[in-house]
Amino acid sequence: MTVVLTPTAEYKVSTRDGLWMSAADAEKVTGWALKPEGMCRDERCVPLPASAVKGGDVDVEAFWQRLGGPVIASRDGDAWALGAPADERNAALEGLQAPDFTLPDVDSKPRTLSELRGKKVFLATWASW
């Protein structure tokens, strides 16, 4: 099994030859579904080169690069990180809607920013280092 890290989650999927995986796993990992038009999410479809689809499998590395996102593999190829495309991050920030997130508090209770809608939120970072 191969570990695939996305900006918000971690998946274990079966892969071959790099990041080829079943269309079902590709959808689970990326949120994009394989259709005749290409990889689709909501109303948007991104055409895939013929070389990136074969017998119901998808080359997720090729697809992710097509989206403009970075793809980084560990030396052994058993762990991969798919980074958010720069354009996607910029578009989200320029919309000025605060990107939502869920993070654990110190007692592991998950907290989600959007639960605070209706309040003014002072969102601040710190670190022990």
Partner: protein, 215 residues
């Protein structure tokens, strides 16, 4: 750190969310959190997800978000100043003048938060907020992915390779102090504020470590 501000303003529809950019995990943040006796949210962000989403480069940085969930002040330094760069490294103290100025700057920042909560002052109009956003470049995007993989590798028994990915991340995004310092800290506790840190700060020359907020 923000408890008195929060206690003062919490009944005015105000919330503080403090996020620890802490790849070593919650146990490293816990002593500080317990010491702070805070009643606002104290969250742990081992993968620096917040830095990825909001394009942050240092701590402490803050983003102000209004009742509709809109960013009204983009990421900026939250109450810290560059006075520390002039401190006496032997005694680790700042001059009384610098200490006073640092305190005054922090107070001014807290006053600005207070004014925002009570009157809406300092909230930027959309075009000004947008113009002040830092741009994510493809290099920064790659740095985030390498950092993410580096943290995972470290947590899963591949410390050397994890270090290499984190150092590559820092090289791709040299403006991120969080990446550099966190990579150094994982390498060796305390290294993030050791001689290499000071050398890197000195190399800034006239550029700020903590750019002052434009209030």
């Amino acid at each position: 750190m923000w408890q008195s501000l929060y206690a003062e303003l919490k009944d005015k529809g105000f919330m503080v969310v403090a996020v620890a950019e802490e790849s070593r995990g919650a146990q490293h943040a816990r002593p500080w959190i317990e010491e702070a006796k805070s009643s606002y949210w104290q969250l742990i962000d081992t993968e620096h997800r917040l830095s990825d989403l909001y394009n942050l480069v240092n701590v402490p940085q803050a983003v102000w978000i209004d009742e509709q969930g809109r960013i009204v002040r983009p990421p900026e330094t939250a109450g810290s100043t560059d006075h520390f760069r002039r401190m006496d490294l032997k005694t680790r103290t700042m001059s009384p003048e610098d200490q006073a100025e640092r305190l005054a700057a922090r107070q001014a920042y807290l006053d600005a938060v207070r004014a925002w909560v009570t009157t809406g002052k300092h909230a930027l109009p959309a075009d000004a907020a947008r113009a002040a956003l830092p741009r994510v470049t493809p290099e920064i995007a790659e740095a985030r992915a390498r950092f993410r993989l580096g943290v995972w590798l470290r947590d899963n028994g591949h410390a050397t390779e994890g270090d290499r990915q984190m150092n590559a991340a820092s090289g791709l995004h040299p403006d991120s102090w969080s990446m550099w310092r966190q990579a150094a800290d994982l390498d060796e506790v305390g290294k993030a504020s050791g001689p290499e840190f000071w050398k890197r700060v000195q190399a800034l020359g006239d550029r700020p470590y903590y750019p002052p907020p434009k209030l």
